[in-house]
């Protein structure tokens, strides 16, 4: 981190901080300007070119099923799902209901792991930061979340390793499975497979209820407003001392309910397709998704229309085009020279109806009209509400998972043969661990002619667009107080509440003396 003084003639000193968020991603850098101790400007820069979309050009239509899951080591199932759905749409085939259930269950296992790990191994690790050394809860935070040894941290690793075995059982391989294919899935789970998945899920649910919530999922479901949340917190020691209870207490006492607001626009592509005939019901009456997609601007929510998605590159290191382009017209032509003052990121700037939009669990809660989060957001989004949404999303998922596992018939149909895909255009959208993910694909002459991917972190961590409007977490940083510019832990809270994931690709051990990534 470097700091320089700018504008010395101004009465209030402006200070620029360049913050490599190594702890989040080696390929994300945040630059902020501080004015009178608060963030007055922010720039988010993805510092590595990926080029996955260009790697796919000219390859066979099915190659996206193998290559795109390697975009990310954490959400490879989400990419596989999006790639499969894109090919489903080109071939015009609707996978059989049990194939949708199998696809969903694998994706949900990935979400269960990611939500809990991100909260307690990454986000809550900041609670042990030296900035809180004098806070009464600091000692308890260390006991729970100290890196590599905190009680909760160790327990989270032990439990979350088991739940993704569901992906291995249903997909036949873990990691980087490629068992989803256009028309369904490549394997048929046996009754023993399904029982094993039920056993794994029951164990994870019992642990999540005991350790994380401190109550049953049913009890948590009764929390439908801010007042309910206060009552729940003070109801008993089990609630107060659970990791959810501790998170709320620590976050409130340290002002995390007052920072990290942002634009107040939210997008969800829809969380988990509902298979026809299922007993699982959507919370918001959606007939297509467990949590229906949409776009929220404040309290105004409209259905998701994929035609409204565009990407801008005015401030990204790509060859310019005017305004934004729909991904079916999109291109990825790196252009890293010139215009240094304007272009500052390898991430493009996705926009919905030309507006920046936040995505992730909080967006899902808002768009699906979850009553608790609708109430909490009357005073605007914050770090606390954003992270709380992630922490309690598993409570929304596990009952549906148990129901779908019981609905699958091993003698049923899991694949509807798709004819060879030689021509066509289609897209696959999914809500992944970090939010809205889409693959837009065009096949010509039996090979991939265009492949455009918009990831959740492209939405959240986007640079400015052609109208010079900040991306979501750039905007969320504005106004954030920074007590110590040498240890800007508040900036880390804001950015990490979005669960940034720029790359997940370079996993090399670094030299002996530099293995430890410095704290923010």
């Amino acid at each position: 981190m470097t700091a320089t003084l700018n504008h010395p003639a101004k009465r209030s000193v402006t200070r620029t901080l360049d913050i490599p968020l190594n702890r989040v991603e080696g390929d994300l850098s945040i630059r902020v300007e501080l004015d009178s101790g608060r963030v007055s400007e922010a720039w988010s820069s993805g510092t590595m070119y990926r080029g996955i979309e260009n790697i796919l050009l000219g390859r066979g239509p099915l190659d996206g099923l193998v290559i795109t899951p390697r975009i990310c080591g954490i959400c490879s199932t989400a990419h596989l799902t999006a790639a499969s759905k894109a090919l489903d749409s080109i071939s015009g085939i609707q996978p059989p209901p049990d194939a949708i259930r199998v696809r969903n269950l694998a994706l949900m296992a990935e979400l269960l792991q990611s939500d809990v790990r991100q909260t307690f191994l990454t986000f809550a690790a900041d609670f042990t930061n030296g900035a809180y050394q004098r806070h009464p809860l600091h000692e308890e935070a260390l006991r729970r979340y100290a890196p590599m040894k905190g009680e909760t941290a160790i327990d989270v690793i032990r439990q979350t390793r088991k739940i993704v075995e569901i992906v291995a059982i249903l997909g036949g391989q873990w990691p980087h499975s490629s068992y989803m294919v256009p028309g369904g899935v490549a394997g048929v789970p046996s009754l023993a497979d399904l029982l094993q998945c039920q056993h794994l899920l029951a164990g994870y649910r019992a642990w999540y209820e005991r350790r994380i919530l401190g109550c049953s999922i049913d009890r948590w479901g009764e929390v439908r407003s801010g007042a309910d949340l206060d009552n729940w917190l003070h109801e008993c020691a089990a609630h107060r001392d659970s990791d959810l209870g501790f998170f709320i207490r620590f976050a409130r006492q340290n002002g995390l309910d007052r920072i990290g607001g942002g634009h107040g626009n939210f997008i969800s592509f829809g969380l988990l397709d509902l298979p026809p005939g299922t007993e699982v019901r959507s919370r918001n009456g959606s007939t297509t998704h467990l949590m229906g997609g949409g776009f929220a601007r404040g309290a105004h929510i409209t259905p998701f229309d994929p035609a409204n998605v565009t990407e801008h590159v005015a401030h990204s290191w790509y060859v310019d085009y005017p305004a934004g382009r729909h991904p079916f017209e999109g291109e990825t032509r790196p252009y890293a020279t010139g215009e240094e003052s304007q272009k500052y990121s390898w991430a493009k700037a996705p926009r919905y109806a030309d507006l920046p939009a936040e995505t992730g669990p909080l967006a899902e809660m808002v768009v699906s009209r979850n009553p608790l989060f609708a109430d909490l957001l009357t005073s605007g989004p914050s770090v606390l509400t954003r992270q709380l949404a992630r922490l309690v999303r598993p409570a929304e998922l596990m009952p549906a998972m148990q129901q779908w596992l019981s609905e699958i018939c091993p003698d049923g149909t899991f694949y509807d043969p798709a004819s060879a895909i030689t021509e066509g255009e289609g897209f696959g959208t999914v809500d992944a661990a970090r939010g809205a993910l889409g693959h837009w694909v065009r096949i010509e002459g039996g090979s991939i002619q265009r492949y455009q991917i918009i990831t959740p972190t492209a939405w959240n961590g986007s640079p400015r667009d052609s109208g010079h409007v900040r991306g979501p977490w750039e905007e969320a940083l504005i106004g954030t107080p920074v007590a110590d510019p040498e240890n800007p832990v508040e900036v880390g809270h804001v950015v990490r509440s979005f669960d940034p994931c720029l790359v997940c690709t370079v996993h090399a051990l670094r030299g002996r003396c530099s293995l430890a990534c410095r704290d923010l």
């Binding site: 702890r23 080591g73 590599m148 980087h176 996993h507 003396c513």
Partner: protein
């Protein structure tokens, strides 16, 4: 049972050496009782491959250990470093090795990490693959100075 777990991303040349070794080993007749795993980018989820086994040899790209082409053999302690690593999306092998002792079910197996510096050519990959098999079968206990010899011979 001994395992060779190959780690990395085949679409990033500077991080591909581990999975190139996997390709090499997958085309090789392995000794009985040795299993090779394409660990990809699984990071912490490789934990399950460390259990119910006597010895695990990880192979991964490294940086900062020597000139390109150098092969180093590290103990678990050497590879994990001395400072706790905070988990993140790019927390790879160092995090896994650091936390291993507290989270593994059953006894901790003997662990070695074979690191390959930089973008490696076929000769280096082959040498690393042979070394993986050798250490998986026989270990390297008692061969003092072995680490420097290997690094020197392959750089």
């Amino acid at each position: 049972m001994k395992r060779i777990v190959c780690v990395g991303n085949r679409y990033k040349p500077e991080d591909a050496s581990g999975v190139l070794v996997y390709d090499c080993l997958a085309a090789t007749r392995l000794p009985p009782d040795v299993e090779v795993i394409d660990g990809g980018l699984a990071g912490l989820d490789l934990l399950r491959f460390v259990e119910k086994t006597d010895r695990v040899v990880f192979v991964d790209a490294v940086s900062g250990f020597g000139p390109p082409g150098t092969i180093v053999v590290l103990t678990r302690e050497e590879a994990m470093g001395r400072t706790p690593v905070v988990y993140s999306h790019d927390a790879g092998l160092a995090y896994l090795l650091g936390v291993l002792q507290r989270v593994v079910d059953g006894p901790l197996p003997e662990i070695r990490v074979i690191g390959i510096e930089g973008v490696a050519d076929g000769r280096v990959i082959r040498a690393a693959a042979d070394l993986c098999i050798e250490i998986a079968v026989d270990g390297d206990a008692g061969e003092h100075g072995r680490l420097d010899q290997v690094a020197g011979a392959s750089s």
